[in-house]
């Protein structure tokens, strides 16, 4: 338990260091590129260097205080929740990301919940009807949705949904509704959520379905299922009390494993539907060369995935005593 938490801390530190070096060592940041502009006077160049702290040594300061360097300033700022100022919005990145975080969580949460629910249902159905055309159908559906590029599915659903069902094409709220009563606003939000959530669900559904199917098939071949059948329990009793609880275990790991997938999904889906979350922040940051914003979003995404992995690990060992003993 303690070792797992320690490992998560190590991972977070690694991510923080990686985040620093990626953005400092690789070329491309306009703050660094701008200094090389030959039209600037030497004094102006020096002023820019000092303003961004680029006059300090990269990692360790050998003349004077060893911690007065770019790296330790970055760590210090990070601990104070300072992720820099967005080039594009001219506001602290921390505040901007904080505003958008909940929108992403809302979308991801509902999408995951639907995908897990339907994935389990269809997976159980497929395993139950093994070898039938229903089973083959779910397999083909799973392989097909796995091969779908997320943003393409989003675009197709956007066209279909807005043309034939009159659903909104993007954003979270219809302009001008901010003073309407809360029920109207909630309904409006729900209408905006339909298409992005549907995309999320379809993208994730296939994998959940296939894993649930194979996991249940594994369990159904176990001796204790045979014993339960021999005791004269009905098929649905066997399924509910003996097979399902054990078949559910791999799903927990899978939810953690698909989190990386969820993150890339949220970047692509939010970009298509202009959903004001972290994913579309990445999209906007790319097109506007807003590096502090990109850096902050990257850090937040990775730390979130690390923490979610830790939670899944802890949950898994709490549910499966066999893991705890090892």
């Amino acid at each position: 338990m303690l070792r797992r938490m320690l490992w998560a801390v190590v991972t977070v530190v690694f991510v923080v260091v990686l985040n620093f070096f990626l953005f400092r060592v690789l070329p491309g940041d306009p703050a660094k590129a701008g200094i090389r502009d030959p039209r600037l006077t030497r004094e102006a160049q020096q002023a820019i260097l000092e303003r961004f702290g680029l006059d300090k040594p990269l990692f360790l300061n050998f003349s004077g205080n060893p911690f007065d360097s770019q790296f330790f300033r970055y760590i210090g700022n990070l601990l104070r929740g300072d992720l820099g100022i967005s080039y594009n919005f001219n506001r602290p990145v921390f505040d901007l990301l904080g505003e958008r975080l909940w929108n992403t969580i809302l979308l991801v949460f509902v999408g995951e919940l639907l995908a897990i629910t339907f994935g389990i249902l269809l997976g159980v159905l497929a395993a139950w009807q093994r070898g039938t055309s229903l089973d083959l159908g779910t397999l083909l559906f799973g392989l097909f949705t796995w091969s779908l590029p997320t943003f393409f599915l989003a675009m197709v659903l956007l066209i279909l949904g807005s043309t034939y069902f009159g659903l909104p094409v993007g954003g979270m709220q219809t302009p001008g509704l901010s003073r309407a009563d809360s029920w109207t606003q909630l309904g409006d939000l729900a209408r905006h959520m339909v298409l992005p959530t549907l995309t999320f669900t379809i993208i994730l559904l296939g994998e959940f379905m296939l894993i649930m199917r194979s996991s249940l098939l594994d369990v159904l071949g176990e001796d204790y299922v045979l014993t339960a059948r021999a005791k004269g329990l009905s098929e649905s009793q066997v399924l509910r009390w003996h097979a399902m609880p054990n078949a559910m275990l791999p799903m927990i790991t899978l939810i953690a494993l698909t989190l990386g997938f969820t993150v890339s999904g949220s970047i692509l889906i939010e970009s298509v539907f202009s959903w004001p979350g972290l994913g579309s922040a990445v999209f906007e940051a790319i097109s506007r060369r807003d590096y502090p914003m990109l850096q902050g979003a990257f850090l937040l995404f990775t730390v979130a995935v690390v923490l979610a992995n830790l939670c899944a690990d802890l949950l898994y060992s709490a549910l499966d005593p066999r893991v705890r003993q090892v």
Binding site: T11, P27, P149, D218, I267
Partner: protein
């Protein structure tokens, strides 16, 4: 050669695998013969007029034109090149690094081995797409940087898989016997481990290729594709950013999307079937 033969025999019996193979071969042919198949040169400058921008499909342009008045069909045909190229090159590097790390972690064992796997775990946790986005955004959008990003950080799952496979192999009877009669470690790796790990790597490779193609198209869609090359992702990026949806120009959106699904599905089917052949499930 003999393994390939057995492989072909088992592949032939599964309709899914055969479908994947046919889909893949068609895509490869299209990419190879693009200059002869495409009705127009996609790089030739076109004088766009109101009438030729997002023109619907006609006899002249079978799949209509895009936002610049260029023929969509020709771009679609050339787009196969980028997807397949990125898939092949990125997966080749990925599988090489992953396989090497996995085998080395076992070969050297002890401290170094577990350190290698620990590093693998660190990279495994980081979500792929944000990392690729950051790398390509900082290095500049070119096809080589896209490949570099995918290859540099995509090898982790292969390394884990190979390591797990090698670990389970080394306790098997024939490896123990080879060691008992004094075979050296490099000899065992060469003669016993590699031939048995190779099929697993092959199945994993198909999966890695489909993931690489998806990653490339996603990056291109986000505006990080190579600006000098036509890829399906770039086509979708332009269609999305330049109003194809509001104009209702489905012919600029569907072909590139279907192209990506086509190639990725081909590799997914192949990977799935290879996995079934190599690692048959009793259920």
């Amino acid at each position: 050669m003999r393994t390939l033969c057995i492989f072909w025999l088992s592949l032939r019996r599964t309709p899914l695998g055969l479908a994947g193979l046919v889909l893949l071969l068609l895509a490869v042919m299209m990419a190879l013969f693009a200059p002869w198949l495409a009705p127009y040169d996609p790089d030739a400058p076109v004088r766009a007029t109101i009438a030729t921008i997002y023109a619907p499909p006609s006899m002249e342009h079978l799949l209509g034109t895009d936002d610049g008045g260029k023929d969509v069909l020709s771009q679609f045909i050339y787009g196969a090149r980028v997807s397949l190229f990125v898939g092949f090159v990125a997966s080749a590097i990925t599988v090489f690094i992953g396989g090497a790390v996995g085998v080395m972690a076992w070969f050297y064992g002890g401290r170094l081995g577990s350190a290698l796997m620990r590093i693998t775990d660190l990279f495994l946790v980081i979500p792929d797409l944000p990392l690729y986005v950051v790398l390509v955004a900082l290095l500049g959008p070119s096809i080589w940087n896209v490949i570099l990003a995918i290859a540099l950080f995509g090898w982790t799952s292969t390394a884990r898989l190979v390591y797990a496979q090698v670990l389970s192999l080394k306790e098997r009877q024939f490896v123990l016997r080879a060691r008992a009669i004094g075979a050296s470690r490099p000899y065992i790796v060469r003669r016993h481990i590699v031939p048995l790990v190779l099929p697993i790597i092959l199945a994993q490779n198909a999966l890695v290729i489909s993931l690489a193609i998806l990653a490339e198209s996603g990056l291109a869609f986000l505006g990080l594709g190579d600006p000098t090359l036509i890829s399906w992702g770039t086509m979708l990026n332009f269609a999305f950013g330049r109003g194809a949806i509001s104009v209702g120009a489905w012919w600029a959106i569907l072909p590139p999307g279907i192209g990506i699904v086509w190639v990725v599905l081909a590799w997914t089917l192949l990977g799935f079937v290879i996995e079934e052949i190599v690692n048959p499930r009793l259920a």
